[in-house]
Amino acid sequence: MTTLTAFADWLAASPLPPLVTSHDWLVPAIQVVHILAIAAVLIASVHINLRVLNVLESDVALADVAGRFLPILWGALGVLALTGVLLIASEPNRAIFRTVFWVKLALATLATLATATQPRLALTGGQGATMAGGGQKVLAVLALILWALTVYAGRWIAYADSWPGAPG
């Protein structure tokens, strides 16, 4: 809590808060970029995990699908981290003092790990064809559920109360 308070104080004293709050339209504009990046993360994860489940692009090797969509996942996560920091900077004493914010980060981390490890788990069969085992398919379903929960937790940051005794 003290580390977090120190971080919030440091962020509040940095040039970021006055910058992102200098115009009324800037915070919602950053949120739009954040939402577009969520769309990119989800469509990339949907492609990778539904390929594992043989629902999408089932005529193409998983490695090929992952090769095209994992860079999009990483790039969009970078945009989310950047816009996320800017959104926190707009109100340094808000999001990071709510449990649901940390739940969201944990869910996003698990969902990313579950999605990004998919191409490594595929068994290589004859002629380079890839097959997904039962466990891998369960992981694919889990990854998609985790992404949905991440969005839910993310939206909930706006409604949850801060911890008792949090600055603000």
Partner: protein, 158 residues
């Protein structure tokens, strides 16, 4: 019947009361709305980028369109259903909100663009360097981004 009369009638329903009384109902429906719209914009963006000639989607534009259409339609149905519920939370406020009107006008334009694509551009997908599919894809990308912008702006102006 005017918009104002409809708005007042919606505000007088038990759904409107439930949304304002509950601490979790609005946020939950809104989360599903966000999830649905990201699916819509993600799948549409892949098709639009493919029409323009870039992006990660594999296959011809027609194949990409057919492959992703269930995601676009399913996401849109879910977004429309949850969006309809959200209106009940503040029907009078929404009916008087500029960005709410802008969002629906842009949705109508996106629908017209999709229809124009179907009528005039879809048949030219296999023509090398055809301009119509590219223009249609670019317009769609701009319109859907503008829809997200106006949707987000409703929350700040309501």
């Amino acid at each position: 019947m005017s918009i104002n009369t409809i708005a007042h009638a919606l505000a007088d329903t038990s759904l409107a009361t439930a949304l304002s009384d509950s601490s979790w109902l609005f946020g939950t429906v809104e989360s599903i709305h966000v999830l649905a719209l990201t699916l819509v914009i993600g799948s549409i963006a892949l098709v639009d980028l493919r029409l323009i000639g870039v992006g990660p989607a594999r296959g011809t534009a027609d194949q990409v369109l057919r492959r992703l259409l269930p995601f676009t339609l399913g996401g849109f149905a879910l977004a429309a259903a949850t969006g309809s519920v959200l209106i009940f939370a503040n029907p009078i406020g929404y009916s008087q909100n500029f960005w709410f009107g802008a969002k629906f006008s842009l949705l109508a334009l996106a629908g017209i663009n999709a229809l124009a694509f179907h009528l005039f551009a879809q048949g030219k997908l296999l023509v090398d360097g055809a301009l119509a599919p590219r223009v249609s894809g670019a317009i769609s990308l701009l319109l859907w981004t503008a829809i997200i912008v106006s949707g987000r702006w409703i929350g700040y102006t309501i």
